[in-house]
Symmetry: none
Subunit: 207 residues, 4 copies
DNA sequence: TATGAATGAGGTTTCATTCAT
DNA sequence: AATGAATGAAACCTCATTCAT
């Protein structure tokens, strides 16, 4: 599709991305409210006014970031390919994927999540564009595993939410700098192993 | 200790608390940045200037709230009392406590947590005074359960974080209005049951 | 009533007037759109922020000016007292009053009238608070003159509007600096005489 | 003269007029200050930059419009043709012309007049090119009527201003939505009759 | 100690104008 | 000559903080 664009259009797409990336960076650094449009303009190396040629408002920048988040998230393909994997292998590789991509992904998250609490529009869009699709995919995957008899017949939708909650929560612990979690992150494989153990077998002691 | 204070001192302590409670309420309602000192003064029924006789700045109010938060949190007693309960009963009642309908405490958290992300001082203090003790307590609890042979010998610290993560994540899903989660919340007991099932036995199918 | 006010209240009233007078002056000088809040603040010798302790917005200043206009206008008493005057004497003295007060009054008008065209709220309030009361009073006066047989039995309401139109229009001509009108204004008595002549007897030549 | 131009020059003249017409329309709609160059460019279906190939600035557009205004105004021809009409017939038809339902010309005036007040250059040019000629013509007309003995020997220049004032004032009353005036406007002939009556015979009761 | 009016720095946003293409 | 993205000055307004009373 890119080759159908005029040079001007390509320039515009590039400029938009440039501003969005600057916004992501500044929001991650300072948080939404402490980030000024001047900060963003400087980070993007454009004039303040230029921002408003691409985004209607500062809020709209936040909305735009959701789009970036959604694009960053390439779970679907991964989940589909993974359906035939051994269950434990799958969980591990999925966790590795989710928790490994926290680099650029988490920076965006740090800029966005705090705002969700008091920003209804953003919240709705975050849910619709980002969380909901992921949930649906995971849920479908879980369901098929149940049908194949690979996992026991439990409440798929709820388990799906619990799994996603755990991931979201871990990211929050990382964000607030919980030290044990941070240290554990040094060995993502070991973390994945522990999580897999919890998900597969729970904590009950068996004789 | 209160009896050592002069009446004037007691008055000051009371006034301080009055302002802090107003701040908590307003922060919970609007979030830190959208809450104005005027809002807080009105909620506390004092003049704006009066706030500055008790707190150095708006940020200082946030700092002050951490102390209140820690005091508000009654986990310790609960966890201690619960040690002798049957494991499944305990998990259920703890979940009921944590997820119990968003009280003033939760709302306050929603007002403050966003600030934690980008406010190092506050974050450190929050972690030190509030999250870390809770984690340590849960961790100790888990450890003692392991020692008693009630749960299998797994990585206690990590499991502790995973459990807390799950709770944080669930709260996030609720905040953003994820519909399945919200619907499930209509029957908290059933949710607690499913979570307990996951934590206790995992998802593996057993013959 | 002023003696019932606390000193603070008196101060507030005074400050409000001070800002409003500055706004009137700056609007008169530069017009609404070219007048900046900074200009007004400087003219009022207060900080920009102070303006917003007394007025919700720049628009609100305009609204506030209407109130001043209405207060400036003391027609009622005058008209009532004048009822018993000889008709020609009355017209002359009324004209002298209206056209003589153009000093401070016209400066306000210059700031406000231009905005009426594209500012519905202001327009409605101007009509309601200022034009309408004046029209009603004049109309009543005209009616009573008709009943007394002092003027012929013509369409009172319309004549009232025509008279007021003439006054409003003259002020507009003055505003745009029409030279003949300005020169004529040097001799207000002569103008009043001509207007009285027109109103009383029209232009028709009589044998 | 048009045949002396190259095609390029004719094109330029046409483009200039196209922009000027767009400006007239947008100024009429929103008023000068609320009209943006972007609005004008869109209405003219050219790029914003193009405007500046034909006009030095936004203010210059206003200056350009004066010329158009003068051309739009067809009073002269009308007045000349009307000289031989019966006086009352003339007044009625002139009123019908002036007060005739607010055409594009009136709307344009509404967009520009506010600027006259505080824009000396524009005001002078407007007065010189537009108001003054009209006044002179009406004045001449009145003068000739006097000479013909159709109206009594009164102060022509002043009466001229009074008549125009009345018209301006009526337009103001209409602009601000004065209800009686608006209602009366439903029957323009009756209004014209009343005005004619006032102008011809005044209000004095005659035995 | 309590007050709240005054402050003014700084925020977001608009828009006339420029200029490389 | 036409374009329209980029510019950045400047507008309005908010609000944490101060300080005279």
């Amino acid at each position: 599709m890119a080759q159908d664009m005029t040079r001007r259009e390509r320039q515009a797409v590039k400029r938009r991305r440039q501003i969005l990336e600057a916004a992501a960076q500044v929001f991650a650094e300072k948080g939404y409210h402490r980030a000024t449009t001047r900060d963003i303009a400087e980070a993007a190396d454009v004039a303040e006014g230029t921002i408003y040629n691409y985004f209607a408002s500062k809020d709209d920048l936040l909305m735009g970031l959701i789009g970036e988040l959604a694009q960053l998230d390439r779970q679907q393909a991964m989940l589909d390919e993974a359906l035939d994997q051994d269950l434990e292998t799958f969980i591990k590789s999925y966790l590795a994927y989710r928790l490994g991509h926290t680099g650029p992904y988490q920076r965006l998250l740090m800029g966005i999540v705090p705002e969700l609490v008091h920003h209804p529009d953003l919240r709705d869009r975050y849910r619709r564009d980002f969380v909901q699709p992921a949930l649906i995919m995971i849920e479908g995957h879980v369901q098929r595993r149940i049908e194949r008899g690979q996992i026991r017949d439990i409440d798929g939708p709820i388990i799906t939410r619990l799994l996603m909650s755990m991931l979201l929560g871990l990211q929050l612990l990382l964000i607030i700098g919980e030290p044990v979690t941070q240290d554990a992150w040094e060995h993502p494989d070991a973390v994945a192993e522990t999580i897999t153990g919890l998900i597969m077998d729970g904590v009950r002691r068996r004789s």
